[in-house]
């Protein structure tokens, strides 16, 4: 069990290196990759929310899905299936996004932020572990969203086709989409570079089954460290990249696109960890599975986009630390509505967990 899976390590190092390169090419600091942030940007570009600073059709998301799709087809692993509690997955995807945007990042960005010296991500990691333990508690008692069934190939291809369509539209008629002129949504790596790098990362993540939540989950469930090596490899690659570039900055306050409201960094990522275990994978893994033909993961991704829209339309997302006009620190964080939404997310996860235990099914 403790034999190192070098494919996972190589994939992790490549993802970390890609994140560093994408930041050098123009993406926001400590945000070379962030599935939550980038889905949120796409939701904004499509007019699903109107937060002007986070609207952009991120080629990274398109590349990840298409890269996973192409490698899955090439290796015969593309299998169209669906039907494992899709509505529940939509809702869970939404709350995972609300938790991620409270912290300001998905589990992948949490690791990338850690590699940049952002200690808020360490607080979030503690929360993430606690959330995963909540999910593992129910997995050990037989929790399952029930089986999926084979479906037509067209069903399995829905998210890859949506992504390909989005790419064609944004290249052919860019004026269709909203586009940030300031803030994180305006900070971009060149389209072709972002697309190609993400496609390679998507293919590697598919082959290595990379999953941020799965790494810790499998350690707690089976003492299986395979996926955790990927998690560690991403951190090491990003850390080394930041040290080489001189962009490593250790501390809590005024880190790039982050806040130092510890309780909500902890709880936001705890919700992401719990929800991700209930879904069977982190936001990155959901994109990859959707590329492999999993319709349930495609629904989850759409749920995450809906969650992003709700987050910004109802003011639930975190606000970054900032300096006021006098140069004093204004600690960011989330609104009261955001706090209520995160707590509601835990309640929803708990209900989903209990309702999907084997005993409940038999009584139904």
């Amino acid at each position: 069990m403790k034999k190192i899976s070098w494919l996972v390590v190589v994939a992790g190092l490549a993802v970390g290196a890609a994140a560093v390169v994408l930041t050098l090419l123009g993406n926001p600091s400590n945000m070379g990759f962030c599935i939550a942030c980038f889905l949120r940007d796409i939701a904004g570009a499509c007019g699903l929310h109107s937060a002007a600073k986070v609207q952009y059709v991120r080629p990274e998301i398109i590349g990840l899905v298409l890269g996973a799709f192409i490698i899955a087809v090439a290796t015969g692993e593309f299998k169209a299936k669906a039907g494992s509690s899709p509505a529940t997955r939509f809702v869970l995807g939404g709350f995972v996004m609300i938790g991620a945007l409270a912290f300001l990042g998905c589990p992948l960005r949490m690791v990338i932020r850690l590699g940049g010296g952002d200690l808020n991500a360490l607080v979030a990691l503690a929360g993430f572990v606690c959330g995963i333990l909540c999910g593992v508690f129910f997995l050990n008692r037989g929790y399952s969203l029930k089986r999926a069934y084979p479906v037509g190939k067209a069903e399995g291809g829905v998210l890859p086709v949506i992504m390909a369509g989005l790419l064609i539209l944004v290249l052919a008629v860019p004026a269709l989409f909203k586009s940030s002129t300031e803030g994180p949504g305006s900070m971009r790596a060149p389209v072709i570079a972002a697309l190609l790098i993400a496609a390679v990362v998507g293919a590697l993540a598919q082959r290595a089954r990379l999953c941020m939540a799965g790494g810790l989950r499998d350690v707690f469930l089976f003492k299986d460290f395979k996926l955790l090596y990927g998690f560690v490899a991403i951190f090491v690659a990003v850390l080394v990249g930041n040290l080489i570039n001189g962009t490593f900055k250790l501390g809590f306050e005024l880190q790039p696109v982050s806040h130092s409201s510890h309780v909500w960094n902890f709880l936001g990522m705890a919700l992401v960890g719990y929800g991700s275990v209930l879904l069977g994978g982190c936001p990155l893994r959901q994109l990859i599975l959707a590329g492999e033909g999993n319709g349930d993961s495609a629904v989850t991704v759409l749920g995450m986009m809906a969650g992003a829209a709700i987050s910004h339309n109802f003011g639930l997302a975190g606000n970054a630390d900032a300096l006021n006009e006098a140069g004093e620190l204004v600690v960011g964080g989330i609104s009261t509505a955001g706090k209520v939404a995160v707590i509601l997310g835990f309640a929803v996860c708990l209900v989903v967990s209990v309702m999907n235990l084997p005993g409940k099914e038999e009584k139904a």
Partner: protein
Amino acid sequence: MKTVDARGHSCPIPVVMVRKAVTAEKPEALEVLVDNQCSVENVTRYGKSQGYSVDVAAEGADFRLSLKK
């Protein structure tokens, strides 16, 4: 011989199902049905960690794993 039908389930559920069968009955041999390569790899890894030898055979779009002590 006991067969665990984990078709349609994504990881980690197939491994959880196999673990339940292994810890409850400690069988000398066990068959497991899964429908994706990721589950094949994970169940194989788990089986080997519990001292089983694992043979994998493709059955149409599915896979049959034979675990033996």
